[in-house]
Symmetry: C2
Subunit: 167 residues, 2 copies
Amino acid sequence: MDAQSKKAALRMIPYGLYVLTGESKDGRVAASTVNWVTQASFEPPLVAVGVKADSHAHAVIKESRAFALNVLGKGQQDLAFAFFKALDRDGSSIGGEAFSSGESGAPVFANAAAVLECSLVATSERRADSVFRGEVVGAGVNREIAGRPDTETLVLGDLGDSVFYGG
Amino acid sequence: MDAQSKKAALRMIPYGLYVLTGESKDGRVAASTVNWVTQASFEPPLVAVGVKADSHAHAVIKESRAFALNVLGKGQQDLAFAFFKALDRDGSSIGGEAFSSGESGAPVFANAAAVLECSLVATSERRADSVFRGEVVGAGVNREIAGRPDTETLVLGDLGDSVFYGG
């Protein structure tokens, strides 16, 4: 397999940006920017999320069995960049972003464009990366959506011409 | 959970379009337009694909344990629409699209913008939809890519303002 072709073909997959959050029973909060997200079923509504196995979010979600995907909207590059690194909770905010506990128990950002709250139903672990599948148990949209919802979403290319996570 | 919010939030996930293909040992070829695709690991390179459990592609891939994601490029709306329905093989073409057998054994379209050939490593079945995870064992790109690879990809919105598969 040609390494350059593999990289280019994998980078043709378009991605939105999300802050994946979880909260452990003892109150630790994890928030991590992710892009490996797809719906995986209609009934029940499932999403699949690829997560780095050594990330704080991975550990917290595995324990709490719940997560939220805070969907970033156009213009929210600052949130995407902020949560590329692990940050600590400060009361009811993390990285300066106010959150509340959603139906699932996972942190829901007040400022995200939308949220999908999920109950963890399956974990596939494989070396460096796991795939969490979650059943959507709560959802909210914080923006007026005039056209297609998918045009409101912050995408990987909005972070810069050379920013990729994939390949 | 509010059904409208759930639908809108899920539809904020952006998607590319792919023709998922497989070939059974007895020469049956399946080709199906899909959009629930994400990378799932770097090492080994894995992709995850959501597939309708009652589709021809699902049956063929489960048996052959190999699939190809033929990545559709800008302008290839006709291919996306053609493989929304099941079509029969005609020699070395299906639905008028010429293919060859790739490294994985799965059909590779001559005209697709790119291809990811995969060996099936895991199947998660859940009522109406399954998630196949495949290790990328072959890849090719058939277009000159000047800018970001993900801007070359046909996306769901290119099929029409009201075309969705998700929600």
